[in-house]
């Protein structure tokens, strides 16, 4: 065949294919939900514990208790209830009967024990919520429906933290264990759950796509939902603009829940989608390293607390989609004092505190650094707003781009912890312990949550007492008192409690927001054509 003939033939074939092929733009299928939100890095629910993992865990796995609605209520799920001994050391859960894993095998107390053993031995993800109070050997199953936890010391948030722990099917995992890895390599791409949806491992691609189908045999049944969604296709679209365009066009049924305000306006102006606005439990905080001069000076920290334009940030940058939060506990959670006045933006007051700090010998003239998370625009915006105000009172603030893994590593020591850094404290479990308890009790120094290196004996004592009590009203009083002290000490700069903004297609119904998992609970949702 001559070259010219070959080229002509190839060209003709391609042209015929392009012109002749029906290039119809794909339309969403009526019983398939396309959920475009962040995906977990791995599918092993014991290896990771972050917001995307929660969105996966609550659908493919079941837990002893679950959080429902907003503000969230802790409800028995696999467990029918629990009891706590008078000394607070023995927590006993009673399981429901007739629960089955996806492979049809029964879920018993032995599976709960094995799941906790796996978590505590792997020492990753949610393990850190339990390692301080629980030895693996102290989780036992006296009978198929009873699980007993013997704690090292009373720990009131224990039950609140159980929604972090997926109960896994040991019979599926054990044959896939290699080199004593607890089946981590296998479970990273497969599932071993009993949840409302079943993973399709054949189409899974890390941080790209997860497909799931409905589990018709889920132990809770489907009576609550007349038209449940049969297929869920989770996709991660990196670019916000593309994600929003895809929603407006009808390619996907949701966006992530952190839409920028300008994109909120675009979605609201569209015909086929809307925005769910839900006050969450996610506090934005500018951390201050309380042990590094000049941050070891109370007046300097108060000066900085008065130098942030809170209203400007919330009203102008966030277009009002946030709620001012005076202290470390979200304002919509018990333990947050409702009458606690927040710091106000007041440069005159800031100047006065700065002068006092200088008079006390604080090195207020040195350049200070604030580390931002460079892929999260809001952290940069917050730092720039502070930088602008500080310049007016003569404080030089340098903005340093950084990434989450490096930042959390750096907080292991006082010397390596930045002067300041910006992050959010999300709701991993719903208890003030998740915020003030782990942020300001000095026993947690060296963890990223306690990276202010704040130390106040009175606060330590209040938080430790609250942790050991079972009575919520008594705990509330202790957390409120601790909050007042921490705020008075200006340990950090607390800015707002988030309003989560998630774009949703109009064909999606039943979306129920809960801070844990950000409302990605597919078993309550349905689709209309």
């Amino acid at each position: 065949m001559k070259r010219r003939t070959f080229l002509l033939g190839t060209g003709a074939t391609v042209t015929a294919a392009v012109v002749g092929a029906p290039v119809a733009i794909a339309q969403p299928k009526p019983d398939e939900l396309v959920w475009a939100d962040g995906l977990p890095g791995s599918l092993d629910p014991h290896a990771l514990s972050d917001v995307p993992m929660q969105g996966y865990l609550i659908n493919v796995y079941d837990t002893l208790y679950v959080n429902r609605d907003n503000p969230p209520k802790l409800e028995p799920w696999l467990a029918s209830g629990h009891t706590i001994s008078d000394d607070g050391l023995i927590v006993m859960f009673k399981l429901r009967e007739g629960i089955k894993f996806h492979d049809g095998s029964p879920l018993t107390a032995e599976d709960v024990v094995w799941s906790f053993h796996r978590l505590l031995n792997m020492k990753k993800g949610a393990a850190s919520a339990f390692l301080a109070v629980l030895n693996p050997d102290n989780v036992t199953a006296p009978d198929p429906t009873t699980v007993v936890f013997k704690l090292k010391r009373p720990y009131a948030p224990f039950v609140s933290a159980t929604p972090l722990v997926a109960i896994v099917n040991r019979r599926v995992i054990e044959p896939n264990i290699k080199d004593n890895d607890w089946g981590q390599a296998w479970l990273a791409s497969n599932s071993a759950g009993s949840g409302s949806y079943i993973l399709d491992p054949s189409t899974y691609q890390p941080v790209q796509q997860i497909d799931m189908k409905r589990n018709p045999d889920h132990f809770m049944g489907w009576g609550h939902n007349k038209s449940p969604i049969e297929i869920v296709r989770r996709r991660d679209i990196l670019e916000t603009t593309t994600r929003v365009n895809a929603l407006i066009k009808g390619d996907v049924d949701c966006t992530d829940s952190y839409l920028p305000p300008d994109q909120v306006e675009r979605v609201l102006a569209s015909k086929g989608a809307t925005v769910s606005k839900d006050q969450s439990m996610r506090v934005m905080v500018l951390r201050m390293n309380n042990r590094k001069p000049p941050f070891d000076n109370l007046n300097f920290r108060r000066a900085l607390s008065h130098a942030f334009n809170y209203r400007g940030f919330i009203d102008d940058v966030l277009k009002g989609y946030a709620v001012r939060n005076a202290g470390p506990i979200p304002v919509n959670l018990w333990g947050s004092p409702q009458d606690l006045p927040p710091y106000a933006f007041n440069l005159e007051a800031a100047k006065e505190f700065l002068a006092k700090a200088k008079a006390e010998g604080a090195p207020v003239d040195r350049e200070i650094e604030i580390h931002i998370q460079q892929h999260l625009a809001q952290t940069t915006q917050a730092a720039q707003i502070l930088q602008q105000a500080l310049r007016k009172i003569g404080v030089n603030l340098r903005i340093v781009p950084n990434l989450w893994p490096q930042l959390v590593s750096s907080t292991a020591k006082v010397e390596t912890t930045p002067d300041m850094w910006v992050h959010w404290v999300s709701s991993y479990f719903i208890d003030p312990e998740n915020w003030i308890g782990q942020m300001y009790d000095s026993q947690f120094h060296g963890t990223w949550k306690a990276s202010s290196w704040y130390k106040n004996d009175k606060v330590d004592s209040l938080l430790r007492e609250a942790r050991g009590l079972d009575d919520q009203s008594k705990r509330q009083a202790l957390y409120e008192e601790a909050s007042r002290i921490v705020v008075s000490d200006a340990a950090d700069i607390w800015i707002y409690n988030a309003i989560e903004l998630r774009g949703l297609s109009n064909r999606l119904h039943g979306f129920r927001f809960t801070p844990i998992g950000s409302g990605a609970d597919f078993r309550v949702m349905s689709l209309t054509s």
Binding site: S128, T242, L403
Partner: protein
Amino acid sequence: MIRFVLQRLLLAIPALFGLLVLTFIMLRVLPNDPSAALAGENATPAQIAAVRNAYGFDEPLWKQFIIYVEQVGRGDFGNSIISNRPVVSDIAWRLPATIELTFVALLFAACVGIPLGTLAAVWHNSLFDHVMRIVTVAGLAVASFWFAIMLQMTFSMELDWLPLRGRFPVGLSPPLQITGLYLLDSLLTLRFDLFGQAFAHILMPALTLSLGGLASIARFTRAGVLETMQKDFVHYAEAAGYARRRIIWVYVLRNSVVGATTQIGLLFGALISSAVAVESIFDWPGVGSYAVSAILTSDYKAVLAVTLVVGLIYSIVNIAIDVVHAWLDPRVAENL
């Protein structure tokens, strides 16, 4: 020729090793430790140290490097620290997507850039030439993310002619995998319907990616054609009465595109790098978006593997370009 190709392949080995050393140093000497993030919420320093120990991050760097080089020598790039899956399998799924996108972009850039450059040279200092100059400068200057969003807003959001994102419709099975290149696989399996879908999905990302390359190739071709047109053999061909069209498009062009082909080789590497942004905007499941996720999570084994694989492809493409060079210019072949 075979000896030449083997020589070039052997030369690529130290270059790739150098790339490995540099990337390893950049990733591991700079503060870059995923242990704390892996250890989970509120992990204590002791718990973080346990994770660091489990992954071998507490070993001396030289030891970590030797272990890694041994692994790579066996073709084992290790497991992703975050996904706990073999990095090779993650990349193998994504690499064809990036290669397909880059190849189509390059093909488009060459098929449009070379004729445009030639015409600009033939009609130099004409209105067409001036317009071309402006267009090529704009092509080099325009930000790819802006151009991508403009394309999306026009052809997908407004006109609804093309799909907005992705490589294939969600829920539709891609063609039977032979090469992993959807366009080629759908043709090989005679699934023209799937070819149409794959083609529609690749059009906008490939066009965006090709923009800078197209401008560059057009400028190189123009310069090459202008220079060649002054050569004696062209005057001889004109005097001998050859048709001007034949002189330009056969003799002049063949002698002029040597520079442009070198440029194409260099462009391939540049386009793979640029693919990071294009893949993000068009949600194209290639190694670029994988690299972004890996960098954000300090998944250094994934980053190293991507860097090495891209380096390897770059080396192979450049060897291929040398071979094409020899084909276009027999004088080069004689020296091989």
